[in-house]
Symmetry: C2
Subunit: 204 residues, 2 copies
DNA sequence: CGGAAGCTTGATATAAGTCAAGATCCGTGG
DNA sequence: CCACGGATCTTGACTTATATCAAGCTTCCG
């Protein structure tokens, strides 16, 4: 099921869970390659994704302070992560609190990111939601040097996108076509190019 | 403008800001009486509320770790808060970290609460959103012993409600009438009664 | 090469928004 | 204490964004 190694590396296949609701975690992760998300399911199969984890991100840094898993975390693509046992962080000598600080910063980032998603879902139009999501992804990948020539990975399914922006896959499809028609995005085979990131950002 | 006193108490009038975007805060607040919220405004006057602060809540506990204000905070009613200077928390002897811990718990609570709002905004129907919001308020007030006989304060305007659940004031009005018609809520003069909280919760 | 997963498209349905007017509540000043 | 005016709530008619259903198409992986 899991392939671990001496360095704390671990692999998950697409759709495999890193954490299920109700579990207690004794470790957080850092994403090395691939994408994951936190989500919640309602009775009738409606799914809403509440956080996205890209390479370089901590996955659920808040587990450091509250081990209980509220929402499940699942791999959106094949995934390679590094386990960071909580004990390892806690046991560090006080002088080296830098680890804790960096986890804390990650928690604040996610708090802030979630507020933005609330604004997006509550008050933005479909076009605006998708534009700002794509920009967010682009920016986050760029800050990890994963953008070259305005191109970056885009392994999400239109269905995944729909579950982030709170729309229907069909509608996501139509909106993406509008963005394409306006020359704001180019999508193909899991890659995305933003010819003019600023123009796209202005839509959000 | 502000009326402070020796105990660190401070009053705000409805619609007065506790914090504006871009400021740096040297204090967090604890709400003593009245309600406040964090929000964000888009160009064309669309407003989305991203957090609600009720009596007993810390207001923006994360300022302890990152002083910069991203989203403004405003009083939704006349408000009485107690200032908790950040230095006061930081300077505490290591043995008494309980203060920091409680602020941290508040941060995690708000992280978790925000995820729920994302789910609500992304995937729930108007009826479900309002039901679960009213339940949330009811539960939070109850945990502070502010519910008596299934009744609690409800000083929010239908316009405020709309800005929380991402709907139009007109539509909020209609949905509230449905809930009234079904005997699930009773609203009058800033008070709310939930004859059957469980039934209401089941809608969310 | 076959089949499932994902994408595209069209026709139609529905939830929620917009606009507009009237009714009600409520604090304020005279 | 009353009268006024603004904020809030209510209601109706109509519009629009997004969802639903359904079918065909394309891609990709085993």
């Amino acid at each position: 099921m899991l392939i671990a190694d001496g360095e704390g590396l671990q692999q998950f296949k697409r759709h495999q869970h890193l954490a299920r609701a109700g579990e207690a975690q004794d470790t957080i992760y850092r994403v090395e390659a691939g994408w994951a998300c936190r989500y919640r399911m309602l009775r009738d199969n409606r799914r809403q994704i509440t956080a996205l984890f890209l390479p370089g991100d901590y996955c659920e840094p808040h587990w450091l302070f509250s081990a209980e898993v509220h929402h499940p975390v699942v791999a959106l693509t094949d995934l390679r992560v590094r386990r960071i046992p909580l004990q390892e962080i806690r046991d560090v000598p006080v002088a080296q609190y830098e680890n804790v600080r960096s986890v804390l910063r990650a928690i604040l980032r996610s708090l802030h990111g979630q507020s933005d998603w609330i604004v997006s879902l509550g008050r933005k139009t479909a076009l605006e939601r998708l534009s700002s999501l794509l920009c967010e992804i682009f920016d986050r990948l760029r800050s990890g040097d994963q953008v070259l020539d305005n191109q970056c990975a885009m392994p999400l399914t239109q269905h995944d996108l729909a579950d982030i922006v709170g729309l229907t896959p069909v509608h996501v499809n139509r909106v993406l076509q509008v963005l394409r028609a306006r020359g704001l995005i180019e999508l193909s085979a899991r890659w995305m190019r933003l010819p003019d990131p600023e123009a796209l950002r202005k839509l959000g």
